[in-house]
Subunit: 157 residues, 2 copies
Amino acid sequence: MEDIDRRIVGLLSSEGRSSFTDLARETGLSVSAVHQRVRRLERRGVIRGYTALVDHDALGLPLTAFISIKPIDPAAPDDAPERLAHLTAIEACHSVAGDESYILKVRVASPGELETLLQEIRTAAGVSTRTTVVLSTPFEHRPVAAAPGEPPAAEVS
Amino acid sequence: MEDIDRRIVGLLSSEGRSSFTDLARETGLSVSAVHQRVRRLERRGVIRGYTALVDHDALGLPLTAFISIKPIDPAAPDDAPERLAHLTAIEACHSVAGDESYILKVRVASPGELETLLQEIRTAAGVSTRTTVVLSTPFEHRPVAAAPGEPPAAEVS
DNA sequence: ATGCGCCGGTCGATGTCTTCCACGGGGCCA
DNA sequence: TGGCCCCGTGGAAGACATCGACCGGCGCAT
């Protein structure tokens, strides 16, 4: 039964617009059953939304980079995510263990824009930056696997 | 006109399952016009697919990490992506500039699984690894912005 | 054992959405 | 001016989403 939910998540993860009819066929359930399972997964937050996967080259944002940031003043409060949220070139922000405190993933149009963005990040968050430019992306956004381990079976209100 | 395409991509990027009716309302076009624009964006590869955004914690994969890899033998052919593709825990693989050659993004259930995965990566690709564990993710998969710069207006067959 | 309630399933009806087709207007060039 | 192409509109047909009613199995307490 939980298996079916995993299967549904996997299917939607690799084909986010597939119809309930398709999901029903692939899971062996009725359309209604699949429908209410998906709604439940959405309500529970297991499925947090849907998105189109985009070719950033075609959109004029061909330059991807990872920017690791480190606070200049270690005593300052660490609110970098809020300070950086308005910069729409930042696609993701991960708090990480290690020498640096966050890793950002950014998409820009050109090296010039990257330079500007780095300055904005430094001044907005009071951090130093270390940038790793992406040359190419063999794969990305691969669908979640059919999950080997035990699900946590946690309960929240 | 190109503006409208950007707008459509933005909308689908933040709400990947919105109906053509909704898109039509938000763009001021007719349903048919939006429909053929979306199809064209898909055919051209600007939209490469759709996916559900998933809560990996809820799926039993609460541990995210970035793994930077570097070939042990610099003379060996660099085919790491193909050698690693079968490892479904790897969600993304970026070729990068800098000291290391690739950055992988992985999702696993536990530190134990991460250890196993690291060994698999090392033996499968003949690389050394450097791992950065993600503590939390303030944001991720933010929709593409309304694009400031000039689109490339390239033409391909 | 029996009866009850809950969970999760099927079935069927209704309204919405997708998808396709025919048609029309504006820009461009001969 | 006429023809063509691109891109838009509108409408029709069928597929799909969505909701309610019903139903069967399971666990539990009587």
